[in-house]
Homo-oligomer: 433 residues x 2
């Protein structure tokens, strides 16, 4: 039994305009007991610890709804290239050299960065996902993990078996911190039959599906040539939708595609910065939200971003929509909502993403006593338009502190950084002499 009280400014993200300038949160074990003004903790709640953060705003931990965590090892390895040479000549040859241990350490590096920037949950897609699960269990964060499945590749069958195995071994692990989805890569890398098998397995095991959809115009062209359909219409026709599906990117959509996503309750992981850096385009997030589609924010992998900072991603998501539509769309509170409760809904996590009684205690604090946060007119606007990753002071996941005063408590940062550096440089040396 652990009982903690945090006193700070509190932005619960349960409803717009709700903000406690002098707030208080009570936490028992992994869950929030109460949220309110100072003095609102229930009578009889005797804390082991009271954390006083009068200059910090406390809010739900941020949720990264689409990433490839271990790709931190490729950070800065290849930038500013056209998409296909970047993939063919740089990313894929590098990834071919990754060992299971490399993926563990690359993921650990990502988790160090995520915790330091206030991200408490990620949806990941990669290989060697048992290593990723172990890194998450070690770090203490929350994650939904999916084995990337290239159905058309030589390992399609084995990868699917690995994903099934992953569900059986890790779904619900770590007091429910780790959950599993299936990760068919994309409609152009998986056949109809393969996707239908994935869907059948997901239904059988009661888990969701995480897939890249309509990221680039090239993908649209391929699908049009192969099937005469858009990616969304193709996936709908073959029966992939209907259960819990996270569609990453969704940059290029028709009005009919958006209606399908809305009616099938497909959740969208929006990756504003990756879509800009790779010149993929601007996803119609304003329209998707107007149609009622649940949207979360993602960073994508570190090699197309190049950081895993959701504060930057919030800003970019707002700016990109304002540039495309007008200055009124995606106001600050809505962006925060996408990065917290919207992210949790995207991932199918019912008790995550808000500070409310009964919810999981995934909580971050941001140090507002810095020049760039003055004057304090609007805390939501400050968090979206002003804050940087480095402003996060405290991180708690599942009721346990992972960072205090910017010091990581579960990971040895210098060891993780050195392992990542050594392993990435080893691969680069093998490839480039």
């Amino acid at each position: 039994m652990s009982k903690t009280i945090i006193r700070a400014m509190v932005l619960p993200m349960t409803e717009p305009d709700l903000f406690y300038p002098q707030g208080e949160i009570a936490i028992e074990n992994d869950r929030i007991v109460s949220v309110g003004i100072k003095g609102s903790v229930p009578a009889g709640f005797v804390p082991d610890r009271i954390l006083e953060l009068p200059n910090d705003v406390v809010m739900p931990g941020l949720i990264n709804t689409h990433t490839h965590a271990a790709m931190t090892l490729l950070r800065g390895y290849a930038d500013d290239l056209p998409l296909m040479p970047w993939l063919n000549e740089k990313v894929w040859p590098f990834e071919d050299k990754l060992t299971e241990e490399d993926i563990y350490w690359g993921t650990a590096l990502a988790l160090c960065e995520m915790v330091r920037s206030g991200t408490t949950t990620m949806l990941d897609m990669y290989a060697s996902m048992d290593q990723v699960a172990e890194a998450v269990l070690m770090a203490g964060t929350r994650a939904v993990l999916s084995r990337g499945l290239i159905g058309n590749g030589p390992n399609g069958q084995r990868a699917l078996e690995e994903n099934i195995d992953l569900v059986q071994r890790y779904h619900g692990a770590g007091n429910g911190r780790v959950n599993i989805m299936f990760g068919p890569h994309a409609p152009y890398t998986c056949s109809k039959e393969y996707l239908q098998r994935v869907k059948a397995e997901a239904d059988r095991l009661g888990v969701g599906i995480h897939i890249h959809v309509a990221e680039t115009l090239d993908e649209l062209k391929i699908l049009q040539e192969q099937y005469g359909k858009t990616p969304v219409q193709w996936l709908d026709e073959l029966g992939l939708f209907g259960g819990h599906v996270v569609a990453a990117h969704c940059v290029h959509l028709t009005a009919k595609d958006m209606d399908i996503l809305a009616s099938r309750d497909v959740r969208v992981a929006h990756n504003a910065e990756s879509n800009m850096k790779l010149s993929s385009g601007t996803a119609p997030i304003t329209e998707l939200r107007a149609k009622g589609v649940v949207v979360g924010l993602g960073t994508d992998g570190a090699s197309s971003n190049n950081n895993l900072d959701l504060f930057g991603e919030m800003r970019s998501a707002a700016f990109q929509q304002k540039l495309r539509v007008d200055s009124t769309v995606l106001p600050a509170y809505e962006v925060l909502e996408m990065a917290t409760r919207g992210g949790a809904k995207t991932l199918g996590l019912e008790d995550v993403g808000m500070l409310a009684p009964g919810f999981k205690a995934d909580i971050i604090s941001i140090d507002l006593d810095q020049p760039h946060f003055y004057p304090r007119f609007s805390i939501p606007a400050h968090l979206v338009y002003v804050a940087h990753a480095g402003d996060v002071r405290t991180v708690m996941v599942d009721g346990k502190f992972l960072m205090e005063e910017r010091r990581l408590l579960t990971m040895e940062v210098s060891k993780v950084c050195q392992e990542a550096e050594t392993r990435a440089k080893r691969i680069s040396a093998e490839l480039n002499g």
Copy 2:
């Protein structure tokens, strides 16, 4: 006489690919004496101090080529509104209430934030510019200052006299740290005659001109109706170009406009984030640079950004061009160049923006020993695509340390933040009851 040696990784920004993993810079008084590998300091140079920063990269201070510093007081006061209600109902009524002292403290707040995010020089446009000059002299930063001139307003004549007075009192002040330009606001707020008088005064006093140009489609419409010309063609025809001119924004340009800017050597201050947040559009920076136009980066004021962080601005500038053109344009080193030497050229500062012998010692260090900077494949890519404002450890301007270990040495941060908070809230209370 002061003599300092800094040992660190060094990115001099004098030529692409020049990087010293173990570098050394010697500084005497306000200028750089030598830059090279460890041990390259001239024989006989006996330092008062040696600063060892083995995990930091040292580079030229960043240059903000377009801002309205005192608008930090409006940070978060009004966001997510259409442009005209934002200006008419929020920004202008607030600005009408600003006293000279408010502008001093708002500028001081901006300078605290700028130093903490590695910006050593700004080009400012506002009112009460003697207060701004005093704040810059106090803070120890470098600045080029212009009095904002609304020629068509009731104070057009008085403001022009203030700008003339500003040149006479502050041009070259603080060992050359402060310089002055004229600040006619825009071609739609100043008449032909007024602009010609400004140009004559600028020529007479030997200083440059700083003006907003082609920021919005509304501006183009107004100029088309009034003069039947684009803003650039109108300003060229009335004779504003030819000397040193900084044109801020330049979002909406024809090919002919770009040719005029290139042939007249007009320098462009690009404000990627403000242009996105206000939905102004995407400036054709790729094309301007291809035509040889000098381009610097700016944040614009804090009420349309909402921070003054040039690291974020570098990232956004790159991403916005890649989104508009393709993933290869504005590679990382070119973006760094725009934020350093390009910015200095934009402002007409001949001995600023590179780490080279004889140049002013405006130097920053960035702490690379953090998870988000591993692995260390490309330092330029890390600085543009990964770094945050909070990663800056050390700032020196004109040979004097303004920040060490993130502690500001010339400004009392808590006092500045409290003054700004009190003053901004006073105005908001006056306006909103």
